[in-house]
């Protein structure tokens, strides 16, 4: 678990720095682009093994297709009870409850790594 998360951290840091480097070459860098780069870099670091990261990556590739998929599957009885969590975890609206909890745990781990690495990069660049 610790080795996996450190691999993810390294992969994320590499991808995110690469994106930042690209953004830096462009004329305008805004916060929305940096944020987008951060979430995309994390999903790409995790790869296609996880449903939430697949959801993030496919959302980027095809937004309209994803929206249709959501409409079709949105009829679970648990939906209203766990609606908030479903909206917070990427792809959560189409998961069964067990997978939602499982993906949530992984998503939280990755988000904490993401925040930590972003903080480290910020500190490094501010000094």
């Amino acid at each position: 678990m610790t080795t996996r998360s450190s691999i993810i951290r390294t992969r994320f840091a590499y991808r995110f720095l690469h994106s930042l480097g690209k953004l830096n070459q462009q004329a305008k860098t805004n916060s929305r682009r940096v944020k987008h780069a951060a979430y995309t870099s994390m999903a790409s670091a995790v790869g296609s093994k996880r449903a939430w990261s697949r959801a993030v990556l496919s959302k980027i590739r095809n937004r309209s297709l994803n929206r249709n998929l959501l409409k079709k599957k949105r009829r679970s009885s648990e939906e209203s009870r766990f609606g908030e969590l479903r909206k917070l975890v990427p792809g959560g609206e189409v998961m069964n409850f067990y997978n939602l909890l499982d993906e949530t745990a992984d998503y939280i781990n990755c988000l904490t790594s993401q925040v930590q690495v972003m903080k480290n990069i910020l500190n490094l660049l501010s000094t």
Binding site: L20, G21, T29, S31, V34, L88, A105, I108, T112, V115
Partner: protein, 92 residues
């Protein structure tokens, strides 16, 4: 008993998932939450864990927002030194 276990497949959407499996995951989630991590699991309700999970994810999202703001400001104001630093980080 074994037949019951085999029925509760974790992958297919329609199959039954046992309460134990759900409880295990709720406990796992609880361990990830800074505020509930040190509490004994039988003292915290599942709905409390789920509510705190939502709050925690939202606070992490806010942190990413804030860090993105600060990073973009930094890049915006960056001179060649910082661009060079990013490049040097990528070379490793």
């Amino acid at each position: 008993m074994s037949s019951r276990r085999s029925r509760s497949s974790r992958h297919s959407g329609g199959s039954r998932i046992s309460e134990d499996q759900i409880n295990d995951l709720v406990n796992k989630l609880q361990q990830l939450l800074p505020e509930l991590r040190n509490r004994s699991s039988d003292k915290v309700s599942a709905s409390r864990v789920l509510q705190d999970t939502c709050n925690y994810i939202k606070s992490l999202h806010r942190e990413v927002d804030d860090l993105s703001d600060r990073l973009s400001e930094l890049l915006e104001s960056s001179d060649t030194t910082q661009a060079a630093l990013i490049r040097s980080l990528l070379m490793q």
